[in-house]
Amino acid sequence: MSSAPRLTARSARCGLALTIALAHDKARAGFDATAHVATSLAGTQTPLAYFLHSKGPATEPVLYLGWILAAICTAVCAIITVMLIIGMFRRRKPEDPRSLSTEGGTSFVYVGTAISTVALLGITVYMLVVLARVAQPPNEPAMTVTVTAYDWWWKVDYGDGPSHFSSANELHIPVGVPVLILLKSADVIHAFWVPELSGKTQAIPGVTNRQWIQADRPGVFRGQCTQYCGLQHAHMAFEVYAQPHTDFEHWIAAQRMPAPVPANAQAARGATLFEKRCAGCHTVRGTRSAGVQAPDLTHVRSRRLIAAGTVANSPESLMQWVQHVQEIKPGALMPDMKLSPAEAGDLSAYLATLR
């Protein structure tokens, strides 16, 4: 009984000072552990910890709400614990064990329920106020991005008409303005969640949901699918880059450009290989590769991570991914691509041009 309060306090302290004490790099299934995400993701130790970091107006009132409610809840648990302990161990006059009492006790119920009701009503009002604050952005959204969830990656679409382009698994937004996300799904129900910037919303096939996010400071913010969607739900992350306005415009301009023509022979061989083996699913704008079931790779080497936030984007890990998909994400819809060493070199050279 008395261990409960100690456990509560200790766990809370532990939680605030968590370190990555137990990560061991171990070669698994024959590929390099650097294929996995580096330990310092964008500088934060706990990238999905919405309880510790809030980076925008959609999450800041919620952060306060969370801490205040947590404080109230902890206080309630402490009070109940104290009442239980006193109730059990308070001194009583010695009496015949067969005697029974019937007196009193109802004041506990009246007072306790009354205080609880007042507290709960207060919590209700407070949460409704926060709901009103965060349900709509403070001003009109400055831009709209369409995010379509796929098994197990994220398609992002910017602009329409001639200025439209697609990318995957990495959203860029300008700092300091609300951005409207139109959420769709190509297959099953997923959920879009970037904890430091906003709460989550489901992506439901047949429906377009709306979500707004806003980052008040530049940075990289990790997101995660949070509705069980199949075998690789665990490896369906994404990143949101908030950039100052000029950097953002540069990024948009760069992403709009089609892929450059391969400069050397090896890359040209790689381009041919790509068209033969990869174009069924992938698109590279400016070439004949126009597959739509998989991420647009026109600027794949400009992204920080690949495979929906699972694999670092270096030339080596990219080729590891292409040839050993099923070891990294078993059940993913992309098969392992069998390549001879020469083919692998050619493809790598070509992919290196897709910046």
């Binding site: 261990s3 409960a4 509560t8 532990c14 939680g15 968590l18 370190t19 990555i20 004490a21 137990l22 990560a23 061991h24 299934a29 995400v37 580096a38 993701l41 706990t46 910890a49 919405y50 999450t59 919620v62 969370g66 947590a70 109230i72 809840c73 309630v76 109940i80 009442m83 239980l84 006193i86 059990m88 009583r92 029974l100 006790g105 109802t106 119920v109 007072v111 306790g112 329920t113 609880s116 709960l120 919590i123 407070y126 949460m127 409704l128 926060v130 709901l131 604050r133 965060v134 099953v188 959920a191 709460g199 047949g206 949901n209 949070t226 069980y228 690789q232 739900h233 665990a234 078993p330």
Partner: protein
């Protein structure tokens, strides 16, 4: 009693089948007691095993079977915890992990949480209510067999590696055929429908038992809180279970028949699944905790040496929690894009539902504070339960805050919350309750020292295991992930959780070992080893097969404490009461006043529940294997068994003429104290049972019509897409069906006047009209340009009218049986319960048609005009 307006005695000169119940005492060891024991003792050996209808045996089976499922679900959890102990672990593949987390949820929530509480309720209710058995002993046995077979059905998929794998909540489209091609989801769907039948018949049994099978003087303000809890949830189950049964049936049809309810490409709505599922599953979480709260409310006072504080408030809070529990299901769907106004309503309700719970928590604390605690093993479980309840409850309040839930939802914070409420509010009271009532179950006491060791391991293991989940949840760890990367900050809490879970597992196993050893070698228990107050402690440990040698008369809430609590008040009569020993008999009371109403004849041990369970399970197996012939054979076998079960029997006084011994001359039967014998006429329990069945079937149609209107409200296409159903034909069908109800009513009336052949004739007319309805409906179906699988509207139209047609066909079978029984002379003005029961069912079928007619035929015209 003449107060019940039994018209049978009014007819001058006719004999009536009534008897004044004998009143007296039956001392232990006397000849009368030995005869009573012989009457009620079931058969022994394997025959007795399959045919018993004894609520005590059935209750214990429920508890043991549920506990076995608890252990299996625990093993599934421990495997998952091994996989999650470290980042990037490769012990389990994603598919294995998916099946494990799905089956862990299914097992714990459906195969353990309610069945174990049904077991307690089954064993204890008659003993607490002062009755010899439940209202429907054979139905009781059936509910157990269906539960066991549904559990086996769900688990037979595991050896094939095809267990359900889309989470216990089974969202579409991931669980639709397109994304889930194997039989996994079909196993889940069919298994859940089969289990739903078990839950429903169990609920019907509890409701009718409470209304009818109480001792004289057992008014509602004297009922133990576990009775309040189980009664409340049984009502809730009647209205909630049809929602999930319907959802799974529609999904099964989408997957196997080609309908389009959830088919996005055909305008189907994934959110419809979420609504139907959560409209059931939210009330369900209260279903699995309210009886357990009742266990604490009844047992904790024993170890505080005083009655529960604020009994009435606790009883009312039980009902209030359940009612509000029907209005909050959207809090599982806050992130689905629903309008903020709706979110505000459901969020506020979800916060405020804690108020009744606060009432109960303070009542328990007050009982401890104002009492004199005795620190036995059950007390330890109940005291710690209060704290676990509050921790789980407050984390729930955090999730009810809508914008905060947008962060917390689908993280491990929710996993922490749900385990604190489920283990804290269900498992802890169950462990304490097993220990407390162990003497009644087995006649022996559990070992106290061993029990305390097990308790501390369970308590520490549970908190070490589940508290860190709050932390990893707040740090963003999502649910249902088979692994997680390094560098997220979750490593330590996951490792600690794994260690704690294993500790908890050890504790539970120690508890089970203690129970098994004590059942053999524990110290023998007297009738009331804890000096408790409840009626169940007035009989021996374990109770005799007949429960009470004489049916008691109750004068207070605490029969065993009356001498000390209210020394000058009236005392309950426990040693003298109604004998009711002409065969297996029990007392039926008037539902609201509690006055004696009828002497009930209780059934002997029977094969029909077991056989019906087997044939029903085979039918579902046949559907899984997609074998039409096997399905039809099993269906026919089930139907035949059911008809054999329902056939009116003389031994149960369900039909005339009675044997000469049972007949009483009319004048002596006019005495006020003479009660009718046998469940007949207005006194029939079967009527209440079918009324409960009508409530649950009406809910099923309600959810179907909800699906129809929901789909219509979300569609952009014209509705109906291919021409409105012809209202003229619909009106004709309606008229025919209403007329058949009228003729059925004529038949009932003339039967009550003992005009047998008129009754037969009117019933034949009703049957003909019913058949005409079927014919018109089939012709109309034939004439539609679209079919069941053409589009979403077609799926809905044919399913709704098809369900109704199935009910009409069953109704016609019932009417035909009634006609046969009338012709065979089974009934007269006193003995005609099946007629009233069948009539009720037929009238219900006709009233439902009025709603369907309005929805399908009238509203499209009305909406077109808008």
């Amino acid at each position: 009693m003449s107060a019940t307006s039994d018209r049978s005695v009014v007819q001058s000169g006719r004999v009536a089948f009534r008897r004044e119940p004998e009143y007296g005492s039956v001392p232990e060891g006397s000849d009368a007691e030995k005869r009573l024991r012989e009457i009620w003792e079931g058969e022994s050996g394997w025959r007795g095993f399959f045919t018993t209808v004894d609520h005590k045996k059935i209750g214990l089976r429920y508890i043991v079977t549920a506990f076995a499922f608890l252990l299996i679900g625990g093993v599934e959890a421990l495997l998952m915890r091994l996989q999650l102990a470290r980042p990037n672990e490769t012990l389990l593949s994603p598919e294995q992990y998916a099946q494990l987390f799905t089956m862990h949820g299914v097992t714990m929530i459906f195969l353990y949480a309610l069945p174990v509480l049904s077991g307690f309720a089954n064993f204890l209710w008659p003993l607490m209510l002062g009755s010899r058995d439940m209202a429907f002993p054979r139905l009781n046995a059936l509910s157990y067999w269906l539960f066991l077979f549904a559990g086996l059905f769900l688990y037979c998929s595991f050896p094939f590696g095809e267990a359900p794998n889309a989470g216990w909540f089974n969202y579409v489209p991931f669980s639709s055929l397109e994304y889930n091609r194997g039989p996994n989801i079909d196993v889940y769907s069919l298994g859940m429908v089969l289990l739903g039948i078990s839950t429903t018949v169990g609920a019907v049994n509890f409701v009718v038992t409470l209304f009818r099978m109480r001792a004289v003087g057992m008014s509602v303000d004297r009922l133990p809180i576990i009775v309040w809890g189980t009664l409340t949830i049984s009502f809730a189950n009647l209205f909630a279970v049809p929602s999930v049964s319907l959802a799974f049936l529609l999904l099964w049809m989408d997957r196997n028949v080609g309908t389009h309810f959830f088919d996005v490409a055909a305008d189907g709505r994934p959110l419809l699944w979420q609504h139907l599922f959560w409209m059931f599953a939210h009330p369900w979480v209260y279903v699995v905790v309210l009886p357990a709260m009742g266990i604490v409310s009844d047992a904790l006072p024993t170890f505080c040496r005083r009655p529960l504080v604020a009994y009435a408030a606790v009883a009312m809070s039980t009902v209030a929690t359940m009612i509000i529990g029907f209005e909050v299901w959207i809090h599982h769907m806050f992130a689905t894009g629903i309008a903020p106004l709706a979110l505000a309503f459901f969020g506020a309700a979800s916060v405020l539902i804690s108020i009744p719970s606060a009432v109960a928590v303070f009542a328990w604390i007050a009982t401890i504070w104002m009492g004199r605690p005795v620190f036995t093993v059950p007390f330890l479980y109940f005291a710690s339960f209060v704290l676990m309840f509050v921790i789980g409850g407050v984390s729930g309040v955090m999730t009810a805050a809508v914008p905060l839930d947008w962060q917390l939802n689908e993280t491990y914070f929710i996993v922490a919350h749900l385990h604190y409420v489920l283990l804290g509010i269900n498992v802890f009271p169950v462990l304490g309750g097993i220990t407390y009532w162990f003497p009644k179950f087995t006649g022996r006491l559990m070992n106290e020292r061993f029990g305390k060791i097990a308790f501390w391991i369970v308590f520490i293991g549970f908190n070490v295991g589940f508290f860190p989940m709050h932390i990893s949840g707040l740090l963003g760890m999502p649910r249902r992930v088979y692994t997680y990367p390094e560098g997220m900050g979750w490593d330590t809490s996951n490792l600690v959780t794994t260690i704690g879970s294993f500790l908890l597992g050890i504790g539970i196993v120690l508890f089970a070992i203690n129970a098994l050893l004590s059942a053999r070698r524990g110290s023998k228990a007297p009738p009331n080893p804890w000096d408790a107050s409840g009626l169940e402690w007035s009989v021996s440990s374990p109770p005799p097969p007949y429960n009470f040698a004489v049916l008691p008369i109750i004068e207070s809430r605490h029969p065993m404490w009356e001498d000390r609590i209210q020394p000058t008040g009236r005392r309950s009569h426990l040693k003298e009461g109604y004998l009711l020993h002409h065969g297996r008999e029990a007392l039926g009371v008037h539902p609201f006043s509690g006055k004696p109403d009828v002497i009930l004849k209780m059934p002997d041990d029977a094969w029909s529940p077991f056989l019906l369970g087997v044939f029903a399970a085979f039918m579902f197996l046949a559907l899984l294997l997609r074998s039409p012939s096997f399905t039809i054979i099993s269906f026919a076998a089930s139907g035949a068994t059911l008809i054999a079960w329902m056939w009116p029997r003389r031994s149960l006084a369900q039909r005339e003429p009675p044997t000469p011994k049972q007949v009483t001359a009319a004048p002596s039967a006019l005495k006020d104290d003479a009660l009718p014998v046998g469940s007949a006429g207005e006194h029939s329990g079967g009527w209440w049972g079918v009324l409960a069945l009508v409530a649950t079937e009406a809910s099923l149609f309600g959810y179907l019509l909800f699906s129809y209107f929901y789909s219509q409200s979300q569609t952009q296409l014209p509705w109906p897409p291919e021409g409105i159903p012809k209202i003229g034909v619909g009106a004709l069908s309606t008229g025919v069906l209403v007329l058949s109800s009228v003729f059925t009513w004529f038949s009932e009336r003339t039967l009550k006047k003992n005009k047998r052949w008129w009754a037969f004739a009117w019933l034949l007319v009703a049957i003909v009209l019913g058949t005409l309805f079927v014919g018109v409906q089939l012709k109309e179906w034939h004439n539609h340009p679209y079919g069941l699988t053409a589009h979403l509207y077609g799926s809905l139209y044919f399913t709704i009218t098809g369900f109704h047609l199935a009910h009409v066909l069953v109704g016609l079978v019932i009417l035909i049986l009634l006609a046969i029984w009338i012709a065979l002379g089974y009934f007269d003005e006193a003995r005609n319960a099946p007629m009233r029961i069948g009539g009720l069912y037929w009238h219900f079928v006709d009233v439902v048609w009025l709603f369907i007619f309005t929805a399908l035929y009238v509203t499209p015209i009305w909406l077109r005009g808008q």
